[in-house]
Symmetry: C2
DNA sequence: TTATAAAATGTAAGCATTTACATTTTCTCC
DNA sequence: GGAGAAAATGTAAATGCTTACATTTTATAA
């Protein structure tokens, strides 16, 4: 059943059927009704491949993420899928893991599938070494590329992210001004965003004149339990009264460590996560965290991409301010300490 | 840049280029090298739409789920995406929510996009009323449909699921034989799988001759906090010493209720979740749960679909046995009580 | 050598649309 | 009633591949 069958039954040409199908050009009401009725009756659906060939698009966007089962990324994917669909785009999902080769390969693969654009979700897509990001710039020569939680400059590269530096700086400062003496920052990797967070933390400590004894940062690349065990080992060398982490999962590991160690949270040990993922609501006490405005970032990302695809002029970046979200793993002094950021959007464009 | 350009540069016909591209037919080593070199040099990629048009496939599978941010579904999507990719299929993701109309609409939409097959993830896709499942059977007339955690019989409909009846029956029986007196089963909806779980629970209680006072089931369709509040209200009418739930999120709600109520878990109140999702590892004590073998179901689903697409004969269903996974929210008597199912696969086919 | 088979390559017909352009029909107004 | 414009419809080319079938080249063996 194709457009010729429909046109034959309706006694018109395929051009007329196509016009009805696409709502383009002029068609008399009578013919339109007739054709619509036949389409309805026969259950005809236009062939998407032929259409794609003619129009050079199937209204599909590629979404790349490391691991869609990660709570934070899963939420992002949901938001992106819903948003894109509301603009008429389907989402081709691609889980790349954290290996650089694989990411590159899958990005190429998506482009060869003729997606209209791609969204890379997660800070891991941008590496510290510029030459390792060339693959993104190469992709952006073909189609628009949007980074959610990543930062990279280049033609047809768009970014939607929150200011991680500011977030960690603010959080560390607040801990220190509210009486915590020995801070630990636990991170997973030194992607662009990872380095910004670390710098925010370090600068805050140094700005307040802390000695090297009073703050420490460490890379711990593992699960909840590995984080817990890592901390147990670390604790024998040096102790802390507040732990900041680069994601919620590590923070929950820290919480488990505190429990195992018999430390009271938040009294003996304050814990602050990052990402405001669902996991943080499951633990007890509930996890204080930094909300990096994922929903806003996703909305922005979609908005940037859709406009770019429509050849509209768009700003290259949306940069949002993170919000500290005090819950049960920080004490009330921390919660009440005041300078909340009044505005979400600090960057070049609002969603 | 298309296949004609390549053929011209190589001084051969497009058929030869196509043969090199597809590894089909006979091509001399020399010509192959030459063409490959030119493809490499020019960075040519075959147009996927044209290819799709000729072959009538783009090696894409649709994945439908209610909400990809749900921890359990997110894991399923990850497993499916990875598995499908290893078989050369891309995944078109579609989050339908729980509305029947929307599910139907999106399923049609995927089919009109000419996916090779679809996988429906989650028990919510199969309704209690048979006529409401017609949309799945209609879809299955076009392409193979695989249900993960759903059960439906029909041509070209395949299922990969665990025996929910058995799981709840086993769990309730174990609670009762290990000293719990008043059971509550909390569920979200009465999909096919929902009804099977409920029946397993009810039958177990009745098989052991419990009176109506000693067990109770209730539908509570909400988040962690809504579950907690629902239980608080229910508690004023009747109390329990064990709660079973139809997913982990509700169980965590129950845990929060216990905490708020000052009940000791598992001493005063045992809690058993369902799905073995990541959330259960975040809480304290860690959630005892029923592992419904998601990874196996996904592997099976992919295997069934891939074989069906290759026109191989495949069994209609894989049915697995769930495993009770005792952790911190059930007591040691429950954990040790014995009859573990020795075999995973009880059904018609192993993954 | 030369008939024969096998290998390599080429030709052209699909595949199902969209759309620029051409043609026909209808309408308007003098 | 007829010129001219506007509306409706049709024709055919273009999109970029795959592949059955035809043709040419090369290898094999008598």
């Amino acid at each position: 059943m194709n457009i010729y069958d429909i046109s034959r039954r309706a006694g018109v040409s395929i051009a007329t059927v196509s016009r009805v199908l696409n709502g383009s050009g002029k068609v008399s009401a009578a013919t339109r009704q007739k054709i619509l009725a036949i389409i309805e009756e026969t259950g005809y659906t236009p062939n998407a491949f032929a259409r794609g060939l003619g129009l050079n698009t199937m209204h599909t966007v590629g979404i790349l993420c490391a691991d869609s089962s990660d709570s934070f990324l899963a939420t992002a994917i949901y938001l992106l899928e819903q948003g894109l669909r509301s603009h008429g785009y389907d989402s081709l999902l691609c889980c790349t893991g954290y290996d650089h080769q694989v990411r590159q390969k899958y990005l190429d693969l998506l482009i060869s599938k003729r997606v209209d654009g791609v969204i890379l979700v997660g800070s891991n897509y941008v590496e510290a070494k510029p030459e390792l990001n060339q693959y993104i710039l190469d992709a952006a020569r073909e189609i628009p590329v949007v980074l959610v939680n990543g930062y990279l400059e280049g033609p047809q590269v768009y970014c939607a992210l929150c200011d991680d530096y500011e977030a960690l700086h603010l959080a560390a400062t607040r801990f220190l001004t509210q009486g915590r003496k020995r801070l630990l920052y636990l991170y997973r990797s030194l992607s662009y965003s990872g380095r910004r967070k670390l710098a925010g933390f370090t600068d805050a400590c140094q700005d307040l004149g802390l000695s090297q004894e009073q703050f420490h940062s460490a890379c711990c690349n593992g699960s909840i339990y590995e984080t817990r065990d890592y901390l147990k080992a670390l604790w024998e060398q040096r102790t802390f009264d507040a732990i900041l982490t680069s994601d919620d999962e590590m923070a929950i590991g820290a919480l488990k460590f505190a429990r195992a160690q018999g430390l009271s949270v938040p009294k003996d040990l304050s814990i602050l996560g990052y990402n405001n993922s669902k996991l943080g609501l499951c633990c007890d006490p509930e996890l204080s965290t930094i909300d990096n405005q994922l929903a806003f970032s996703c909305t922005s990302a979609i908005s940037l991409l859709v406009k770019a695809l429509a050849k509209e002029l768009v700003p290259a970046r949306t940069i949002l301010s993170a919000q500290i979200l005090p819950r049960g793993t920080t004490d009330s002094a921390f919660a009440q300490a005041g300078e909340t950021n009044k505005e979400y959007a600090k960057g070049e464009c609002m969603p």
